[in-house]
Symmetry: C2
Subunit: 409 residues, 2 copies
Amino acid sequence: MSANKTRVRQENRGTAPGDAVGEANAPSSPVVKFGSEAPLKLDCGVELSPWQVAYQTYGTLNAERSNAVLLCHALTGDQHAASINPVTGKAGWWDLLVGPGRPIDTDRFFVICANVLGGCMGTSGPANIDPATGEPYGLNFPVVTIRDMVRAQARLLDHLGIDTLFAVAGGSMGGMQVLQWASDYPDRVFAAIPIATAARHTTQNIAFHEVGRQAVMADPDWCRGNYHAEGKRPTKGLAVARMAAHITYLSEEAMHRKFGRRLQDRDALTFGFDADFQVESYLRHQGMTFVERFDANSYLYLTRAMDYFDLAADHNGILTGAFKGTRTRFCMVSFTSDWLFPTEGNRKVVHALNAAGARVSFVEIETDRGHDAFLLDEPDLDLAVRGFIDSAARARGLPHKDLEEGKRV
Amino acid sequence: MSANKTRVRQENRGTAPGDAVGEANAPSSPVVKFGSEAPLKLDCGVELSPWQVAYQTYGTLNAERSNAVLLCHALTGDQHAASINPVTGKAGWWDLLVGPGRPIDTDRFFVICANVLGGCMGTSGPANIDPATGEPYGLNFPVVTIRDMVRAQARLLDHLGIDTLFAVAGGSMGGMQVLQWASDYPDRVFAAIPIATAARHTTQNIAFHEVGRQAVMADPDWCRGNYHAEGKRPTKGLAVARMAAHITYLSEEAMHRKFGRRLQDRDALTFGFDADFQVESYLRHQGMTFVERFDANSYLYLTRAMDYFDLAADHNGILTGAFKGTRTRFCMVSFTSDWLFPTEGNRKVVHALNAAGARVSFVEIETDRGHDAFLLDEPDLDLAVRGFIDSAARARGLPHKDLEEGKRV
């Protein structure tokens, strides 16, 4: 599992910052390329080769290689968890939780975040060049699963010479990966922090994803997935998909508080179809900015992977079987107003972990901000993650930097 | 307010049954046409002329003209509440609640249901021919409101010589019309049954509608609303809009019970983008059948009318003002699993009615079927409506047919 056991080539920098399509093939973050001698076996039966994984790291790996933390990103996230995103120019998606002195403290931990398999920021996905044709894969890319994403991450860790993760953490689709990690590689995960997630995608969530996919596929510029070659982009369809999804990330309470029925830059209703209401204008903006940074086919693949996720299915429908004999410590977090991944689904995982005799703590955080709360400034999330990480670090025998240096605490 | 005061022409039958576009201009139900001498004044300031209203009736108007019940349909409903729909060939949308011996008993009451203004089943809407151009209005049709719909219905009642309604009833957008009726014409409504509705559209509901409109408008076959003239139809965009909306009509519990994660006509996941899951197949079917019977522009207009609905806004934001001094009896009904028009929104209306000193009963029905419960076989809905109607009929002095004939009961 050390670096020299796998023959790989590594490039440190891509060439097209600020360009979402360029990032797929030449990411502006480190990338590991696996050649034909190191294919990735996928659940669908395909052996993907060549393939690559793009990632970002923060902090320093200690001599014992015992302080690594893997972050798993959500559907539209990427490896830039705590650094400036090269496409958007904005702060990373978990900048609030990850950094020097933050709950996931980059002064103490070696933090790794990889773009998921099927993504569009440098890890192999449908926007990458298919070596068989010299054109982007499009729908020729194999359909991947959450387990496949985790397999790819495990291969990255092998390459980096990291046998055991101190912790793996993530929300939403990231939380699914956390659960898959704990289930498939129990000896490689000391602590796990699945947030706002579930052991399987619900019927309603599959339905919302299907609407998003149909919106993309209804756009004639999708060209049956072949839009790269045709010089087009299904931006309208993808924007509609994003708008629909975005509603599910918020709560009615949060939307009401933010927008209510307030009008956008006007004093009265216009009796037309422009964005009279602020919430309409906001949603349109969300749709338009999303298509600038995301590949439409990736959206199809990643939503599909979430739909397919059903951790109990591999254990005769008994979720506890997925965690049998686990020694991993878990900290599960849900949010009261999250109707996409409601507390109930999180609690089912906790019950299964309890039945498996696992160490597990469960925090339901009171907030009106819906599913997106895991990305926002939620002091209780900060506290829960900080407390769990500190406690697990002591159990793992990791020194507490603050105590060492006699400052902070 | 009697028939002879308004010069109108009446046609009994259209010529294009089974054809949604044909129904708009030549409905296969009675239609009243109002000429240039009888324009309809709209909230947007336009005086619509000529205009028409298509309707259906069941039962017989009594000599006192006191047994009329008006049904108000929801977003995608029509006048065929209790008879075979000429386009779909299916039973009417409220067939379970309306008919001989049913809670809204067509043996006792003269039941009227009109297609709403802006609709596409014979009442004036964007699919109707604009006399100024000889082409369908498209976006040249004025944006209408719930109040405009009610104005049009009031004009129909004038034409039919009905001064006072014994009752007005409807769910969802139909419930909005019921509330508007009670507010604008308190002396013409003896009893009102608003179901699964609210006094204003919520932020989240506006957001969902905006997604639907954007899906339609993103379809190049929408042709900026001019698709009729171009010989096209934005079926893909409208199907996506319907799919997204359909999710909001159900509850997660109902979807889980109906479909769960069961696969559609296959034993295993296909690792592709076909409809693997039953819920995907179901949604696609809902989208495809909807576009056969509904006009895309009508969908834009009617969702807009719902978004604009805010009954308190005309009373300085005080909802009670909308019902000041009312003598109408109300029976408000909500459903526990309805997350589109949750009980909370219904209860706000009840509180306003209480504050106005109105007679009001409120029934929250326990069901897992979501918003669509008002259209389904819900015994408690049947009981609530039957009990309220019977009680109101006694108060109104309407004879009870069963008692008269000494049978049933």
